[in-house]
Subunit: 185 residues, 2 copies
DNA sequence: GTCTATATCAAGATAGAC
DNA sequence: GTCTATCTTGATATAGAC
């Protein structure tokens, strides 16, 4: 039996998946502790509060997306269309292969509208997302057009994730990907 | 001083605006009672539980949208493009002129994904929404195309509402309306 | 129909033993 | 680092007086 059951990184990953599935307010510290195989009391050894934890979860999501997804937009060794496809496929894996849809969109609608705490991180994530798409679109379109196409794509994805959740099918999101990719044809 | 301070309809309207702004889980019965000018105890005279109340709120939203917005799609005295414009303007008033965005989308992401209770109503609302758009698109496009355009429009609206909320500007939603309307040009 | 008072429970959070 | 025990608060909900 090890002295240490878990660590911050592991907890953040577990918390991410619980928050994504159940939402912020509908997840209790007790839920999180259980999901991590800890007692509630032990949980506070790692995070001072639910708010602090969610803040770190969102920061982790931000780092991961920047590092593993949005960075693809700058891989100029790939043709623009291939870059777009690669990035969308990666994004799809992040958004599709897990229960609960998109933590960024979920949290935006649940918390950000009335609460300032997480707003900056959420905005920054969407800004990076938009910017990554814009970079690729600019290989084919002028800046203004690229910017609008990028914004449109992100909004379409979020709408599609919502529908995919509600109707329990990936089809809406897949279609949204195809539509975005077709703009690079 | 009147014996009766309020009534079910009034409470539903107030609850709608509180739920839209603060979300379902983040709204307490106490919040709702206060917003209605009632004591918590009095509130239960009208609704047995928060869940029942939210159910009725969503049903009311559904009725209102059917009656006041989606019905416009069938006003064949108007030219298709004018019908579309009229419907979108009305929808814009419903979605824009109030704090908290779209209660249908908010509730879908917050509650419907993990909870079956409100899912049927939310689905029915989105189905009617999609269908209203489809009816108008079919004046110009074949059925399959109309269906896809309608789905796309709804998803785009929801994405745009999310952005409008986060960035505190109506522009995203306005742009989405323009894009949809332009498909009827 | 509205009020005050209260029961019950779960949530966030802390203290201190091991 | 983890546990149990506990504090405090706020939430849902009910009872009964007016």
């Amino acid at each position: 039996m090890p002295l240490t059951k878990t660590n911050k990184e592991e907890i953040i990953q577990t918390a991410l998946s619980v928050f994504r599935k159940n939402g912020y307010y509908n997840t209790s510290m007790s839920d999180l502790a259980t999901a991590c195989g800890l007692q509630k009391g032990s949980f506070y050894h790692y995070f001072a509060s639910k708010e602090v934890l969610m803040g770190e979860v969102l920061k982790t999501v931000q780092s991961y997306l920047d590092y593993a997804v949005f960075s693809i937009a700058k891989q100029t060794d790939l043709a623009p269309r291939d870059r777009m496809e690669k990035m969308l496929l990666k994004l799809g894996k992040v958004l599709l292969s897990q229960e609960g849809g998109c933590i960024v969109g979920n949290t935006t609608l649940e918390v950000a509208a009335q609460n300032v705490i997480f707003k900056d991180t959420l905005k920054a994530i969407f800004d990076s997302w938009k910017n990554a798409l814009k970079i690729i679109f600019m290989e084919k379109y002028p800046e203004g057009t690229s910017n609008r196409l990028a914004e449109q794509s992100v909004m379409e994805f979020e709408g599609a994730v919502m529908f995919s959740q509600l109707y329990q099918t990936d089809q809406y999101l897949k279609d949204a990907f195809v539509r975005t990719l077709s703009k690079m044809k």
